[in-house]
């Protein structure tokens, strides 16, 4: 498998570390316990497209949001996690 790192270009999978679901969001300070349980433990396993966090540890050290098809391993999109996170902040703020 190869990932097209937005900073480094296409690189072999051995340069990256998989973390997991990029669709869960860290609850706020006052969130109830069940929200934290969901965030820490509960994961969907969708048949098809999924967004995941990968880490380019042997490259630029960027965390990446990878859109991957869980059935075919097709990679549709690789973007920097920091850009996704900043965009989410802007959307939440506006």
């Amino acid at each position: 498998m190869r990932l097209n790192c937005p900073c480094c270009g296409p690189r072999g999978i051995e340069e990256f570390t998989y973390r997991g679901d990029a669709t869960v969001h860290r609850p706020g300070m006052d969130a109830p316990a069940h929200a934290w349980v969901d965030y820490v433990y509960l994961r969907d396993n969708p048949d098809g497209w999924h967004r995941e966090l990968w880490y380019h540890g042997a490259g630029c050290h960027a965390w990446l949001v990878v859109t991957r098809n869980m059935r075919t391993h097709e990679i549709a999109d690789v973007v920097r996690a920091v850009d996704v996170a900043r965009q989410a902040r802007e959307n939440a703020g506006s």
Binding site: V40, L53, W63, H73, R86
Partner: protein
């Protein structure tokens, strides 16, 4: 039954050098090389495979079958060979299950048959055939079921001796292997007409092309057939084309290279047999090289594999695939028999009769299962003088070590016995689809071709030629060229299709996958489908009757399609037999999944150079060489090598050394390289806020020039890592992590910063390798340091107290960092200098410290002293303990958010009955405490129900003259003074111990504040 032409199986053994040869395109007849098979010396020519050389010497018999020990010969001329598996070489170089059909002969090659005793011709276990009812489908699951105790002692050893393949070498592999990666625009797999045409067009476009051919020579079937292209023999056209390709700078041709797997993202695995064809690799030359090829487009042009026909006793030596018979004639000049029968269900098989006749052999009969004689059949029968049995079948064969008679049943049902020493059989061809299916695509059945073809392709993959279900040579050339053009264009290289050379359009005329043929009595118990696993038509029938109707289940139940050949010659016949039984058509029966590797790959090749001491890199501290000169004993700490202790003359046991090192620190001064601790430089206006989020405790109020201990949790509330962080400037911090978690903490911080809190204005970088850091500990440490640091740094306790930090200069202006930290509990410092000065600093400390009795200490003494002080380390931060468990619950801030805050507050994680950190001292000070022991109430029986905790770290304390330990005990802090039992089930020992606070030495901390 009286058989009229009974003869010795090897009657056609020919005399003369390297056997009798006719002119051929693939060998050098003027050079003789010698090899041995089962101790007998034979001649061969350069270009020969073991199979061709054995056949040339009249040796059909090559091995004994897996279960029944039936004599087996050479079936194929390629990597799909199920029968002729041999052991090559001897001693540490011995390699079992090597296919004779792809093993190139070199001078001095030593080969042995396998799975036979005492000899190949006289195998005692051939009687297994008499017990064949025991070995039918699912025999593993049935015959040896009861009694259960018999499995290990009786059945398994019996089966292992009786049924098997070759013997692995019992020494370490002495050869070298390499792994490498390369990139190209177009990868072409296979160098037959389609592959060459594809490579030529893609190469001319300017694209970077890699052409992989698993064989030692290019040309594919063009070397095996008498096909003319552009008016010259096909193999000459192939050679010319390859010569043209070699002139192209962007084209790379790799022979002896099998592309064995398709992986995601246009990645392909290939194995190059660099030195398998020579007696010994050259110095430093790898035996094999594992390639990872990243290709934007891949053209699969690997040809096809011929199907055997399934008829009673179809496995005797001398019964071969028709295409293989032609390969041996045309490429190797070997005529596999002098009196041949051609048995086919298609026109392609008929070409064998023509080639045999042309090579001087007699073709006595052509048995064609088709009920209508094709034009070609009539023509070939006429030209070869063979008797044509249209609508006929071979219903049985005879000959113990090699076929000498075939029973031919004509369309009217009449049986004739015909003498023969060779049966060339063809059940049609299967496109070689493996590479197209590795990512999960399912093949589809093409009723016209009577074969499965690729239903869909992985992204970036195309196929051409026989591999794509295109069988005629002219069409292969055209399709290859078109795919080459298409692939190059997809990579941005446009080119025109060149004029194509003239080539034949051969007839094929297959009508169906041939159903199982039975003998006159209707039996098919010796009609083999899978030669390698001894699976017969009867086994498949039985499996179907027992309810195994899914092809994947039948595979597992009968073992059809398993082992080294992965059913390359048997899968399709097997599912055709299953379809015949279940009444389903073949298309609906489907095929089993192909998985990588297409051909066996040695584990050595997958490991490459990463074995032994090169399995992982060595990470050395800046003082490593100095420590080695001191005679240090080293220990592995992750990939770091750290000095464990520094033995001195007269010390006979490592504990003597460690005790002395501890006493030196406690009474004078010692130093220890602590460079391996992770160091992360953190800067920015939001650095303190960032630290707040990472650690459970607060950082806003830490003054510049001070250090603070911090504990990090994971988001699930369990402890993750600990360490100290110093504030060097208003917006500048330097964090230390544990050695083990340095990388993980860095990764965690990057996730926190990039994903959770991108708004924080903070930057950080690992500086672990930039700074050499030395702990200098003991009552005389300040005295020693005064000789190192420049005079403007005031080291007095008032000016530079406990937990102070400063950027200073040493040795007359050299920048350094000084921290007053103590892991040992003594007055102590950590001095950091640029890594390149680490060695010099160690030597300087030894020199200036000598008057104060300085000595280096290693990780073992470090560990003893931290246990004496009750500092948690790896065994305490084991991923299962919380801040409360570590007696750090009070550090958990309630005024800020931090990683793990919410989950750490779960009631179960704060329950006081949780095992909590305590100290333990044995009632008798010299009773040894062992880490991993269980803690039980005193007097309780040693059962799981009474388990109340465990010992995490234990040490002999020279300071306290007794054993001490840290452990986790249920409700621990409330039980100080209580006697518990320390149970070590491994040694079955019980030691009484008293629970105490975890700080054994100087609990008030007077010494470190001195």
């Amino acid at each position: 039954m009286k058989l009229p032409w009974k003869k010795d199986a090897c009657s056609h053994r020919l005399s003369g050098q390297a056997g009798r040869r006719i002119p051929a395109n693939g060998i050098d007849p003027d050079t003789i090389i010698r090899f041995t098979f089962d101790g007998i010396s034979y001649d061969a020519h350069p270009g020969d495979t073991l199979a061709s050389a054995l056949l040339a010497n009249g040796q059909h018999l090559a091995g004994r079958s897996f279960k029944y020990h039936r004599p087996r010969g050479i079936l194929t001329a390629g990597p799909e060979e199920p029968n002729a598996l041999l052991e090559l070489r001897t001693g540490a170089w011995r390699e079992p299950n090597s296919r004779a059909t792809v093993t190139e002969v070199f001078d001095g090659l030593d080969a042995c048959s396998q799975n036979r005793w005492p000899s190949l011709r006289m195998d005692a276990l051939g009687v297994n055939g008499l017990f064949s009812p025991l070995f039918t489908a699912g025999f593993y699951y049935k015959t040896f079921m009861w009694p259960a105790a018999f499995w290990e002692k009786v059945y398994e050893p019996l089966i292992r001796r009786a049924a098997g393949l070759g013997r692995a070498a019992d020494e370490a592999d002495p050869d070298l292997y390499e792994k490498t990666t390369t990139f190209c625009d177009v990868l072409v797999v296979g160098s037959g007409p389609a592959g060459l045409a594809a490579a030529l067009v893609a190469g001319r476009s300017g694209a970077r092309v890699i052409l992989c051919e698993q064989d030692s020579v290019t040309g594919g079937r063009l070397r095996a057939e008498r096909t003319d292209i552009d008016g010259v023999p096909g193999w000459q056209w192939a050679d010319r084309t390859v010569a043209a390709l070699r002139q192209m700078p962007e084209v790379r041709i790799m022979t002896r290279t099998c592309v064995f797997g398709t992986y995601d993202g246009g990645t392909y695995g290939a194995l190059e047999r660099v030195a398998d064809h020579v007696s010994c690799p050259a110095s430093d030359q790898p035996r094999q090289r594992l390639w990872r090829i990243v290709a934007r487009r891949c053209i699969v042009a690997g040809g096809g594999i011929e199907r055997p026909l399934v008829f009673p006793n179809n496995d005797r030596p001398g019964i071969m695939l028709a295409g293989a018979v032609r390969t041996y004639i045309n490429r190797f000049g070997v005529v596999a028999g002098q009196r041949a029968i051609v048995f086919t269900n298609n026109d392609d098989g008929l070409r064998t009769a023509v080639d045999l006749k042309h090579a001087g052999a007699a073709v006595t009969a052509i048995v064609d299962t088709r009920t209508q004689a094709s034009d070609m059949a009539q023509q070939v029968a006429h030209d070869t003088g063979a008797r044509l049995f249209t609508g006929g079948a071979i219903s049985n064969t005879y000959g113990r070590l090699g076929v000498h008679t075939a029973a031919i049943r004509d369309r009217s049902g009449r049986v004739r016995h015909v003498a023969c020493d060779l049966i060339a059989m063809s059940g049609g061809w299967n496109p070689e689809l493996s590479l197209t299916t590795h990512l999960g695509a399912k093949p589809v059945y093409d009723p016209e071709l009577c074969a499965f073809t690729a239903g869909s392709f992985p992204p970036g993959m195309l196929a051409a030629g026989v591999a794509n279900g295109t069988f005629m040579t002219a069409d292969c050339l055209h399709e290859g060229a078109a795919r080459g053009q298409e692939a190059a264009a997809a990579c941005g290289f446009d080119t025109e299709l060149p004029p194509l050379p003239a080539a034949p359009r051969e007839s094929y005329g297959i009508q169906a996958i041939q159903p199982v043929l039975q003998d006159q009595a209707g039996r098919d118990s010796k009609a083999f489908i899978d030669f390698q696993n001894d699976v017969t038509a009867k086994d498949v029938r039985l499996a179907a009757m027992e309810g195994f109707r899914c092809v994947e289940h039948v595979k597992r139940y009968t073992t059809l399609g398993m082992a080294t050949d992965q059913g390359k010659t048997s899968n399709i016949n097997g599912l055709a037999a299953l379809a015949q039984q279940t009444g389903q058509d073949i298309a609906r029966t489907g095929t089993t999944m192909f998985r990588p590797p297409v051909q066996p790959v040695a584990i050595g090749a997958l490991a490459g150079a990463h074995r032994g001491r090169y399995f992982k890199p060595d990470r050395l501290t800046p003082t490593h060489e100095w420590a080695r000169q001191q005679g240090a004993v080293f220990t592995a700490n992750g990939i770091w090598h750290r000095a464990q202790w520094f033995p001195q003359d007269g010390e006979t046991h490592w504990r003597d050394t460690v005790n002395r090192e501890v006493r030196t620190v406690r009474t004078a001064v010692g130093f220890c390289d602590v460079t391996t601790l992770g160091k992360i430089d953190i800067q920015g206006p939001d650095a303190a806020t960032f630290l707040d989020r990472l650690y459970i405790n607060g950082w806003q109020k830490l003054p510049v020039g001070r250090v603070r201990y911090g504990l990090m949790l994971r988001e699930d509330g369990f402890a993750f890592d600990d360490g100290t962080t110093a504030r060097l400037g208003e917006q500048h911090y330097v964090m230390t992590t544990t050695t083990a978690h340095a990388g993980a903490v860095m990764q965690h911080m990057e996730l926190c910063h990039q994903w959770l809190w991108p708004e924080l204005d903070v930057h950080f970088i690992s500086v672990t390798d930039e700074w050499a850091q030395m702990a200098i500990a003991g009552p005389r440490s300040r005295d020693v340091l005064r000789h190192v640091v420049d005079p403007d740094t005031d080291l007095s306790n008032d000016a530079f107290g406990y937990m102070h930090a400063a950027e200073i200069t040493i040795c007359g202006g050299q920048a350094a960092r000084l921290f007053r930290l103590s892991f040992s509990g003594e007055l102590a410092y950590e001095l950091a200098v640029p890594a390149r000065y680490g060695d010099a600093l160690a030597r300087l400390l030894m020199k200036v410290g000598a008057p104060y009795g300085i000595a280096p200490y290693g990780t073992e003494a470090l560990g003893v002293m931290r246990i004496e002080k009750g500092h948690p380390a790896g065994p305490e931060l084991n991923g299962q303990t919380t801040a409360h468990d570590l007696n750090m619950g009070r550090m958990l801030s309630t005024r800020k958010d931090f990683i793990g805050r919410a989950m750490a507050a779960r009631p179960a994680l704060t329950d006081p009955v949780r095992p909590t950190l305590v100290g333990l001292r044995p009632v008798h000070a010299h009773d040894e405490l062992v880490a991993g022991s269980h803690l039980l109430p005193h007097g309780a029986e040693a059962t799981g129900a009474h388990d109340q905790g465990w010992i995490s770290s234990a040490a002999w304390s020279p300071t306290l003259d007794g054993w001490i330990a840290l452990g986790f005990l249920s409700g621990g802090p409330a039980r100080h003074g209580e006697m518990v039992m320390v149970h070590n089930p491994l040694a079955d020992s019980q030691v009484a111990a008293v629970v105490c606070p975890p700080t054994f030495f100087d609990p008030a901390g007077d010494r470190l504040h001195a």
